[in-house]
């Protein structure tokens, strides 16, 4: 009897331990990553600031109504009101046409963020697609896509963007489209590299043996495993798009006045500085803070997804 009871208890203990381990494993990759991310204070603060910025900017009409007396971003409120110092009515003063700098900053943020997100959306779609194809199929497909990436990387981006801007005089959305189709290469490289290491793993082989089609393997088995890297790259894409737009608009080849953007508010910075210092400093600080927050969030995500990377900086 006892001989029979003995093994029973061990198996029950074993299965208990097993189920415990299962439970912790069942938390899953995303859940554990999220928990790690939530422990990272710097990233959380960055995320908080970024969300507040996004909400304030997305609801610019409401925000400007509440905090900035509902001034228009493009039309001056009254005549002879240029370069007013900060006051309770104009929190950051007025610009060379007598427009409220704070309100212009808010609406300019709409353009910057909209461009950032749109560019990232386009670049990620293109980049992930090509990266999956190149990494999964390899050989000829990989060669062709690689050559394409090489050519695109060699094109002097800012110069070509200036040229395109002269030729097409784009609106913000067409500008975002142009930026999107010219900045996907980094995404492709990252995704391709990861897919190369994934495609020979056992579970992909298993799917293949089961008779899954290529498209099913890519979409159901490979894509979910590159999503973490895509999320991190997305952050860098957004930040870089914001920086690129700001630079282009500053040069006068991006978003055109009277529409405000953080970049084009700085175009006349050197002439206007002595009259309205805040008009020069504020847009630059907004760009820097936004980009800094996004970088920190992306860094935090990368560390959360793969803690081994943490020390590599």
């Amino acid at each position: 009897m006892s001989q029979i009871v003995e093994p029973r208890t061990t198996t029950s203990v074993r299965s208990e331990a097993l189920s415990k381990r299962r439970k912790s494993a069942a938390k899953g990759f995303w859940r554990t990553s999220l928990e790690r991310f939530m422990q990272d204070k710097i990233s959380l603060v960055a995320l908080g600031i970024f969300l507040i910025l996004c909400i304030a900017i997305a609801s610019a009409p409401v925000t400007s109504q509440i905090f900035f007396s509902g001034h228009s971003p493009t039309k001056p409120e009254k005549l002879f009101n240029d370069f007013k110092p900060p006051s309770s009515e104009y929190v950051l003063g007025t610009d060379q046409f007598g427009r409220d700098v704070a309100v212009r900053l808010l609406y300019g943020g709409q353009i910057s963020l909209a461009i950032g997100f749109t560019v990232a959306g386009i670049a990620l779609t293109l980049g992930v697609m090509l990266g999956l194809l190149a990494g999964y199929f390899g050989k000829k497909v990989d060669d062709v896509i690689n050559a394409f990436v090489q050519i695109m990387l060699t094109i002097p981006l800012l110069f070509v963007l200036i040229l395109l801007s002269v030729i097409l005089t784009p609106e913000w959305w067409s500008l975002a489209f142009i930026l999107g189709v010219t900045t996907w290469m980094n995404v492709t490289r990252q995704v391709r590299g990861l897919v190369l290491s994934l495609r020979n793993l056992d579970y992909v082989d298993a799917a293949r043996v089961n008779g899954a089609s290529n498209s099913r393997i890519i979409l159901a088995h490979v894509l979910p495993n590159v999503m973490s890297i895509v999320l991190v790259v997305a952050g860098f894409e957004i930040a870089n798009a914001i920086l690129l737009e700001a630079g282009l608009s500053f040069l006068g080849f991006g978003v055109r006045p009277p529409t405000s953007s953080w970049g084009n508010m700085l175009t006349n910075a050197l002439q206007d500085y002595s009259k309205a210092p805040l008009q020069v400093i504020a847009p630059g600080i907004m760009i820097s803070i936004t980009v800094l927050c996004i970088f920190l969030i992306a860094d935090g995500l990368r560390d959360a997804f793969d803690p081994r990377l943490k020390d590599k900086g």
Partner: protein, 320 residues
């Protein structure tokens, strides 16, 4: 090795041709074509425009025009600027020399990043490492041209208040006082701005490379057999961790040129960026093409040379 070099050179030439084709196509996509800038001037009659177009060969079929242009490029003839009426090659050459000053100054200062990165790696996780990290993240987020604006404004304010000119506010030299010292003085701020990119990239790269190498078995062996740590770091760590830096430098070129456009604009530096911006504003088609070509050429051959050097300094790299 020789086969690899030949193949890479051919590849580079092909790449250059592809980019030339793209920029050529872009030019002809513009409304009004390369002569679009004439359309805005009402004083020029149609027949004159026809004459100009014919003289510049713009009536030829596009492939012929492209071939003519390439043939010109091979003979280092990039055409005549519509606006300046000077050979584009001369304009590009002059601007390139000015930009070279910036890039050289920036790179030299940028090398400061390497010891910073190595130092951070050796003190990993300590306070100094974190401070360096914060600095690189912050300076990576501030657009460098905006930083340039702020510095200029600050310097101008000091000059206004106390009459003390800390730094010049732009240009390459003070008119009437051209000299080596005056030029170096004008070079300080722009090369600092350019160097920021290098410092950030170099220090990050040097840090992660050094960390990699520090964990290698041969470093442990060297330490274990009692080599003084200065010798370990010089002979075993530094040498091996800095090799890949060469490839990084090749890859940095295009981004650097993009940054130069903005820096040159902020500091009114008469380099490639300023030349291109001016030409873009006036739709000076031959100049735009010339600058684009020159920069693509530099980028492609920068990468090529980096690739070849990689094999020279690292015997483990095999070409096949």
């Amino acid at each position: 090795m020789r086969r690899f070099v030949i193949r890479r050179i051919l590849q580079s030439l092909g790449l250059l041709l592809a980019i030339m084709l793209i920029s050529f196509t872009l030019m002809h996509l513009a409304p009004g074509g390369p002569l679009g800038f004439l359309a805005e001037d009402p004083r020029i009659s149609e027949s004159v425009k026809e004459g100009i177009a014919k003289r510049l060969g713009l009536k030829d079929p596009l492939p012929v025009q492209f071939a003519t242009w390439i043939w010109g490029v091979v003979r280092l003839d990039l055409g005549i600027s519509f606006v300046e009426k000077r050979p584009v090659f001369d304009m590009v050459r002059d601007a390139a020399v000015n930009t070279l000053w910036l890039t050289l100054g920036g790179t030299l200062i940028g090398f400061v990043g390497i010891p910073i990165g190595v130092y951070a790696a050796r003190h990993r996780g300590k306070l100094i490492d974190n401070i360096i990290r914060v600095f690189t993240v912050v300076f990576n987020s501030i657009p460098h041209w905006f930083l340039g604006l702020l510095i200029i404004i600050g310097v101008a304010n000091i000059a206004n208040d106390s009459g003390f000119k800390l730094l010049p506010l732009g240009q390459m030299y003070t008119i009437g006082q051209d000299g080596i010292i005056n030029r170096l003085w004008h070079l300080i701020l722009p090369s600092f701005l350019v160097s920021l990119t290098y410092i950030i990239v170099f220090s990050r790269f040097a840090r992660s490379q050094t960390l990699d190498v520090l964990n290698q078995d041969y470093v442990r062996t060297a330490n274990a057999k009692g080599l003084p740590s200065s010798q370990v770091s010089r002979r075993h760590v530094l040498r091996n961790s800095l090799i890949p830096l060469i490839t990084i430098m090749g890859g940095l070129l295009p981004g650097l040129f993009a940054g130069l456009v903005l820096t040159e604009r902020v500091l009114s530096w008469p380099g490639m960026g300023t030349l291109f911006l001016g030409a873009a504003g006036q739709r000076d088609y031959p100049t735009l093409m010339g600058v684009l070509l020159f920069i693509s050429f530099l980028t492609i051959f920068g990468n090529l040379i980096a690739d070849l050097c990689y094999g020279l300094v690292d015997p483990r790299v095999r070409y096949d």
